[in-house]
């Protein structure tokens, strides 16, 4: 990106808007803020942003609708802001097309990391989809179905590979339990989170240096999983 990336913040709390504007401007982003859903949508249409930060609790319309309306015409990354204990809302926002979420209160490092990851993947998506994904010591060849760790091949079962491939081809994005289960096991097994737990444990054992503190295959409590390449988290 040649010019400074443009961030649109849609949040009705002025303090949050003020803080985000200060932090992001300091980090060389161009920041626009909107306090209402409609305002945010028209600002986005008038001056398409590179990333949207969206609060789920807005006075005029709910955040899910803003997500859905944005998704009608743009693939811009959307990060939603939500509070603890609203896992259902997070899942609903992700289903409506959001890419990621942050639980309030969040640290600036967390926010900036998510923004950077989202921007990087948005830029990559505009080109051809990557057929080889690198993450630390891992190389995942999606075309040839080959996974290597520090140069030596790792043997995976078919389901393990499908699961890894689905996560790795959406790096940085939070994928909900349901979407992973539907994609890997099929719609009939969409509620069987236990499959996912078992396979994720197996995958971590094979791929992570410390399976108890994974760096690439991350759990999003009550919501789903996220694949992170190195240096992104």
């Amino acid at each position: 990106m040649s010019s400074a990336p443009h961030v649109l913040v849609i949040d009705d709390e002025p303090q949050i808007g003020r803080a985000l504007r200060a932090i992001l401007t300091e980090k060389n982003f161009r920041v626009t803020t909107a306090a209402r859903g409609e305002e945010g949508l028209s600002l986005a249409a008038a001056n398409p942003p590179d990333i949207v930060i969206l609060d789920l609790g807005l006075p005029d319309m709910d955040g899910f609708e803003v997500c859905a309306r944005l998704r009608e015409w743009t693939h811009v990354p959307i990060i939603v802001l939500s509070v603890r204990d609203s896992e259902r809302d997070k899942v609903a926002a992700l289903d409506k097309g959001a890419d990621d979420y942050l639980t309030k209160p969040f640290s600036v490092e967390e926010l900036l990391a998510r923004v950077r990851v989202a921007l990087r993947h948005a830029a990559r998506e505009q080109g051809a989809p990557a057929s080889v994904v690198h993450a630390g010591q891992l190389t995942i060849d999606l075309g040839w179905h080959v996974v290597t760790r520090a140069g030596s091949e790792v043997k995976l079962t078919a389901t393990e590979f499908n699961l890894l491939a689905y996560l790795a081809s959406n790096p940085g994005r939070v994928l909900t339990h349901q979407s992973i289960l539907t994609h890997v096991w099929g719609p009939a097994d969409a509620e069987h989170t236990e499959y996912l737990r078992v396979y994720m444990r197996q995958l971590r054992k094979k791929l992570e240096e410390n399976p108890e503190r994974p760096r690439h295959l991350l759990t999003e409590p009550g919501v789903g999983y996220r694949f992170l390449a190195d240096g992104e988290g």
């Binding site: 603890r84 204990d85 896992e87 259902r88 209160p105 640290s107 043997k155 995976l156 079962t157 078919a158 389901t159 393990e160 590979f161 339990h177 096991w185 069987h192 989170t193 236990e194 499959y195 737990r197 078992v198 396979y199 444990r201 108890e212 503190r213 759990t219 409590p221 009550g222």
Partner: protein, 486 residues
């Protein structure tokens, strides 16, 4: 009897008449052999029995018919109502008097017995009603009992109970019956101390409703009104009790929380203002200290707010865990990761076997449980000692989790009470905390169908909780096994 239907009463008269005629005809062949006196005595039998069987009226009719048939069939000249012999006339007159008096006496005794039985029946019915009503607190249930009893005991075709607001329901029996077109045969108000609570109406196939039945209906209505009034008083009392409890809870919460919120706020304010005011040099190590303090205290506030939310949900019964199959290690690692900074002076040990089955728990709520248990342990355990989290399957249906520390023992008598709201063993000013953390743990664990308790160990203190290993009675499904492709 008043409430016998007309057809039954007519049948009584007819039977009495028939009885007398049959006996007369049966005796007829013997009229030559027997004298008039024995025949008169024989004819008294159906009179007496008729009165006993069918009551006073039929008895009198029997007496009169017996008199006529005696005169007509058995006194010369036969087949006339004439009397020739003076002795026959005496017998006839005495017969009439005896028959009348006897049927009167028998009839009265009979009526008395029946009245007594009716009173007894009424008393039993009232007793049944009051037993059925006792202990009912729901106005509709009370209404249903009342309608059923009236319907069954007063021989009603349709019974209706219209309760006024706030209940505002109309109950009708039989349920499929439509509202009759005519006015009710009996309507009794349900009179409470101040207002009428409703009206009891009944329709009968054969009016009229006797006086004793009206009395019974009124007694029923009074009983029903009493029960309704008692129920509404009970409700009001229960509501008042809940309100009082929640009021006491709120004021305890406020006093506990305002103190507890102010401490981190004071730290944050002091640190932020000194940084902003430029009192601290850019390279000063104090700067890093102050920033860390702000960060930590903000996290502390966040936990506090989470606890407050959980507490209010537990109090209002709105805490419903979203139970999903989860890996315990993941939950624990996440909590420790987040708390590592705040737990600087303690060592953390985790001993959870890798083969531990999946647990059906709400990830976020269990995070709060571990956060509270670990931060409580950290408050009491001496610096430098270890806080240990371990877990294992206890019996096939349960997992047992322990969070232990090297802290001081808790007196046995406090062990249970530490899970009560706002309960502190030590003086409030010595250890910080709202006194909510452990009671929230209890609320969450119990909402998961588990139990939590505390024990003194030989060299420390431990929280333990047990959780079921099944979700809606089922274990997690195992995915189909697979072979690794080369």
């Amino acid at each position: 009897m008043h409430h016998k239907p007309l057809s039954v009463r007519l049948a009584g008269y007819a039977s009495a008449a028939a009885f007398v005629l049959i006996v007369s005809l049966a005796v007829l062949p013997a009229r030559g052999a027997l004298g008039t006196a024995p025949i008169a005595l024989l004819l008294l039998i159906p009179v007496g029995l008729s009165t006993a069987l069918w009551g006073l009226g039929p008895g009198l009719v029997a007496a009169f018919i017996a008199f006529l048939s005696f005169n007509y069939l058995f006194i010369t000249p036969y087949y006339t109502f004439l009397v020739h012999l003076p002795s026959d006339l005496v017998i006839l007159v005495i017969f009439l008097i005896v028959a009348m008096v006897m049927s009167q006496l028998v009839g009265r005794a009979q009526a008395g017995r029946e009245a007594a039985a009716a009173r007894e029946r009424e008393a039993t019915q009232l007793y049944e009603l009051s037993t059925a009503l006792a202990g009912l607190r729901d106005p509709e249930a009370i209404g249903r009992v009342l309608v059923t009893q009236v319907q069954n005991n007063l021989g009603a075709e349709v019974t209706e109970l219209a309760l006024r607001s706030p209940m505002a329901v109309t109950l009708r029996l039989p349920q499929e019956a439509r509202h009759p077109d005519r006015l009710p045969d009996l309507a009794v108000p349900l009179q409470a101390t101040e207002t009428a609570l409703g009206e009891l109406r009944l329709w009968r196939p054969t009016p009229p409703v006797s006086e004793s039945e009206q009395r019974l209906a009124r007694t029923y209505a009074a009983q029903g009104a009493l029960a309704l009034e008692r129920a509404s008083l009970g409700h009001a009392e229960a509501r008042a009790h809940v309100l009082e409890e929640s009021d006491r809870f709120k004021s305890a919460l406020l006093s506990s929380v305002s103190h507890e919120l102010r401490t981190p706020l004071a730290t944050i304010k002091a640190a932020a203002s000194s940084l902003r005011g430029g009192q601290v040099g850019w390279d000063s190590p104090a700067r890093v200290e102050l920033l860390a303090a702000i960060d930590d205290e903000a996290d502390h506030l966040n936990i506090l707010v989470g606890n407050l939310l959980d507490m209010s949900r537990i109090e209002s019964g709105a805490l419903r865990p979203q139970r999903q199959w989860n890996v315990l290690t993941e939950i624990v690692e996440r909590v420790l990761d987040r708390m590592r900074h705040a737990l600087g002076v303690h060592q953390l040990e985790v001993d959870i076997p890798p083969e531990l089955p999946l647990l059906p728990v709400d990830f976020v709520q269990m995070e709060q449980v571990f956060t509270n248990l670990v931060s409580n342990s950290a408050k009491y355990a001496p610096p430098g000692t270890a806080i240990r989290i371990s877990a294992g399957v206890r019996d096939p249906a349960e997992v047992l989790v322990e969070v232990s520390n090297r802290g001081p023992h808790v007196p046995e008598e406090h062990l249970e009470r530490i899970f009560d709201k706002f309960y502190r063993i030590t003086a409030a000013d010595r250890v910080t905390g709202t006194g909510l953390g452990l009671s929230i743990c209890k609320g969450i664990i119990e909402a998961h169908g588990g139990r939590i308790w505390a024990v003194n160990l030989e060299d420390g203190f431990a929280f333990r909780f047990a959780l079921p290993l099944t979700l809606d009675g089922a274990a997690p499904l195992a995915p189909r096994p697979e072979i690794e492709t080369p």
